[in-house]
Symmetry: C2
DNA sequence: GGGATCATGTAACGAGTTACATGATTTG
DNA sequence: CAAATCATGTAACTCGTTACATGATCCC
């Protein structure tokens, strides 16, 4: 369901695009929001076209197919945005390592938290490069905010473990 | 893979337990870390027993089966904790709504962010009840830290939208 | 005895990943 | 002309959810 919404949202926001284009967007601007590879996107677009939410607007070079959102697609997207209570499903390997930290001895735990800290720092560095405005800017702010919080947790936890 | 690790970690941390017990832990203490229902846990325990990572220690009333982690299981868990670089896969409906916020008009966007804010507040309230020490305390701190950051983002975004 | 909770499972489906496969076009 | 990139797809598999099914035990 959410994959559909993400695809509809991108088509609504940036205009008609190919599956290939959309896959690129997932890799870059949507990376900290929703992830999907081309092998998931191509079949989904076909299903969405069958359901009347998108339509092939034109076909370009190299078999390129440009999809556009339909008015039915716009309606579906709008309804979801306005009415859908976002479900919170957390599956975080990082949080799992944090959870199990007390099973390790001091030095191991420190090494694990250092790796987690580096991961947060790297993600934050990527997010800092995201534009401050335009579609996705709110999500980028949310990502920066939460990643900074993770980084701060790592620093505090390291201080605590070293004490 | 991570489901296995979560199950091994729980068995290591709290001692032998049944699938039912483990499902309860997922519902409560692991809720902000990893999610899994009993329909996923029961078959996984059977596979893990076949792989020698856990063993049925005893059987109690009402067909209750108590699993214990084996030394091979402990080794597997330890290796994962120390060596595995946590993979970051984000699929957040909340972030998706944030991403698509610019597609809504002002009042709709405000209503959506208010709902998101309430969701963060509710999660934070639950996390505040988690014990400050023992297994899971580090993960609870991380969850509190990141959820607070989400809440702060919502407040700032609301202020921005109302301006 | 009846309702809540304990306790385990299966089957069908949908979502997501990995590996494989193919060919067109552009750029050096 | 070779390598990179564009562009699409399928198949097999794993992971996760929903719905269904069953029975034991505890407590009022």
């Amino acid at each position: 369901m959410s994959l559909r919404i993400a695809l509809l949202g991108l088509l609504e926001a940036v205009g008609p695009a190919s599956g290939y284009d959309l896959a690129k967007k997932f890799e870059h601007s949507l990376n900290h929001v929703w992830q999907a590879g081309h092998t998931q996107i191509y079949p989904e677009l076909v299903k969405m076209a069958a359901d009347g939410l998108v339509a092939i607007e034109s076909e370009g070079a190299r078999g390129r197919k440009i999809y556009a959102i339909t008015s039915e697609g716009t309606r579906e997207l709008h309804t979801w945005l306005v009415e859908h209570q976002p479900a919170v499903t957390i599956r975080s390997e990082t949080a799992l390592q944090a959870f199990l930290l007390p099973l390790l001895d001091r030095d191991e735990a420190i090494a694990v938290v250092e790796r987690i800290r580096d991961g947060f720092a790297a993600r934050l560095a990527v997010l800092e490069c995201h534009p401050r405005d335009g579609i996705g800017s709110y999500a980028a702010n949310l990502g920066r905010s939460q990643t900074s919080a993770g980084l701060a947790w790592a620093e505090e936890t390291l201080a605590d473990l070293r004490r």
